[in-house]
Amino acid sequence: MKETIYTSQSPLHMPRAFLREVRADLGVVYRIGWQLFVRNLKVQVRQSLLGYAWLLLPPLVTGLVWVLLGRTRVLNVESDSVPYPAFVLAGVFLWQGFVEALGCPLQQLTNAKATLAKVRVPHEAFVTAGAAVVVFNSLLRLGVLLGLMLWFGVPLTGTLALVPLGLAALLLLGLALGWLLALLGLLYADVAQALPVVLNLWFLITPVVYLPPAAFAKWFNLNPVTPLLSTTRNWLLAGPVAPASGFGLVAGLGGIFFLLTWLAYRLAQPHLVARL
């Protein structure tokens, strides 16, 4: 029979039991993640008239706006050889994926507050289901983007196969920061308040809608999103195959950071629940 012991000791005192618990919880997450994901999709559309059309509408409208802007030649920004609208859309869609991943843990856990306070469930289940929606939405946007690339005559090359890798690195970095934000944000409401402000600033210092000027490239590369986003966009838009400098480093550190912030959240979990 399974035995469970609760004491005031930190789980790190018994790392083996801690890891066993993590594994057991992951089993549950695996079983129910899909159900929660389907629920998220259903809940998202059930109270609306247009239903599943809402999944496609936002990226389609964004795409159309840029197509129109491109046609009227309002914008004339330097962007390599790629048509500017395609360049911007690729950047914006990838950035959106990052932002959604970043906000996902805090948002999902805040929504599930009532449940988390009263029912013993692995919190990862909600975050996983939320992350699945983020991936799903990102893939939808990429689909729209591929259509527009055909429209603009951007060649579809073999580097497209590398795009999932870049996207995964980008989302993983977002989730890593997201776990940390959730830990702090479930305690202090300041986090949720400050998040949009910080993200707006971050958007401006990230080469999403522009190419970083060569003179400041070094500074731009201090922003961890820059190498991930530029590289993935290059792979999308038939750019160079070689990743931007720092891509491997950021992707690797992002993965480690993700594990650390996730485990930190697990350690914090009972203290957060006591204050929900």
Partner: protein
């Protein structure tokens, strides 16, 4: 491990909470930091603005046993269930659990209002760690138990709280946990559903399940549990059989001391405006304490400025909360109050009150017009009457039924 080993073992369990929100958040951050730094010993003492929600609690629960947790609001019952369910962690002491724990702490939690009842069965089971494939064969039983019929296809946001209770209980109860924690959830269901739940709990216990029940309904507690714990301000006040625990709780609960919340009695000075003042009213049995069925001597002590002819005096007995007058008694003939400090006496044969706490008031009035000359216990604290009775199941049934008096009956 043998089967006689306890399913739940709680040792010196303590949990503290903070009364101030901001301070609590700050302590939260510090506690989280301490988790990551295993060298840092958790502070066992209370910090500023903290209090013990649970303090030094120990008990055991064996297979097939049902334990009732009894206590006032804020006594720590829900904290205990949350600790047992692993939602929050102890500040001291330990909990050892064998087997899978199922908990019904708050019914609405974990249900999605937009999804239908049927979809919510799967969702809730999933949250409790049971997959779709395992739920499918149980589905007809669960839906049947809810008694919701066609409403099972309706979004849960249109459910009444009783319907939500039915759904939540049905799911949690049919997943066969080894230990079931139930927190005051039957209260919202109708009588039919309550009966169904009690029936189910008894069957579950007979099948070797273990149960911890928090309830304010003595009937539920007595129907299901063999043992009871009484918590008072986070401490274990009493542990024993259900009957003893309920008896302890009823005789110590706050309602019994309601009289103490009234203003202290102030003896008004004798004056032209108050020519008569009641000093005291005493009810005395033959023994040191008044018992049900005693002959009781009632003594009223008064002071009068001058003799008062044509007066009537009386005493009234109220329920412990002062809301209901159980009986009042006046002599049929007028009396003359003598000047100075004197006593009026009467005898009450075979006190019919059941064990408990009562309030007594007294009055002296004009016999003809019945307007009050002197009052005692109306605007100030009434007198208290404590009636004892031996601990027994009958005594508990009096409490459960809120029975106040027992009348003498001659049976044919």
């Amino acid at each position: 491990m043998s089967d006689t080993a306890p399913v739940v073992t709680v040792r010196n369990l303590s949990k503290k909470f903070c009364t101030q929100l901001r301070t609590s958040l700050w302590y939260g951050l510090r506690d989280i930091a301490a988790e990551a730094w295993p060298g840092a010993a958790p502070a066992p003492a209370l910090r500023r603005a903290e209090f013990w929600s649970l303090h030094d609690l120990s008990f055991e629960l064996r297979q097939g046993e049902a334990l009732a947790i009894i206590g006032d609001n804020g006594a720590g019952k829900s904290t205990l269930l949350k600790l047992l369910n692993g939602l929050i962690k102890p500040d001291a002491g330990s909990i050892r659990l064998r087997g899978r724990v199922g908990a019904l702490i708050e019914l609405g939690a974990g249900l999605d209002p937009v999804l239908t009842g049927r979809e919510n069965i799967f969702l809730r089971a999933a949250l409790l760690g049971v997959g779709r494939a395992e739920v499918l064969p149980l589905l007809p039983t669960i839906i049947d138990f809810t008694g919701l019929d066609a409403a099972i296809e309706m979004p849960v946001q249109f459910y009444s709280s009783g319907m939500v209770a039915r759904l939540a209980y049905a799911v949690a109860a049919h997943l066969h946990p080894d230990v079931l924690l139930v927190d005051e959830v039957l209260a919202v269901g109708d009588t039919d559903f309550q009966r169904k739940c009690i029936h189910h709990m008894l069957g579950y216990l007979a099948a070797g399940g273990s149960l911890i029940l928090v309830s304010h309904q003595p009937y539920h507690i007595q129907a299901v549990c063999q043992r009871g714990l009484v918590l008072e301000k986070g401490r274990l006040a009493f542990a024993g059989t259900t009957t003893e625990a309920l008896d302890y709780y009823f005789s110590h609960q706050a309602g019994a001391g309601a009289a103490s919340e009234l203003p202290d009695r102030t003896m008004p000075a004798l004056s032209e405006a108050r020519p008569v003042v009641i000093e005291h009213l005493a009810l005395m049995g033959p023994g040191p304490v008044v018992q049900s069925g005693d002959d009781v001597l009632v003594t009223l002590t008064y002071q009068a400025l001058r003799p008062v002819p044509g007066a009537v005096w009386g005493f009234l007995i109220y329920t412990g909360d002062g809301s209901t007058c159980i009986t009042a008694a006046y002599p049929p003939e007028p009396v003359v109050l003598a000047a100075g400090r004197n006593q009026l006496i009467c005898r009450l044969r075979g006190l019919p009150l059941t064990a408990g706490n009562y309030l007594v008031k007294a009055a002296i009035a004009d016999f003809e017009h019945r307007h009050a000359i002197a009052l005692w216990g109306w605007e100030d604290a009434p007198g208290r009457l404590h009636v004892e009775d031996a601990v027994s199941a009958t005594k508990n049934s009096h409490k459960i039924l809120q029975q106040l008096v027992t009348v003498e009956v001659e049976w044919n």
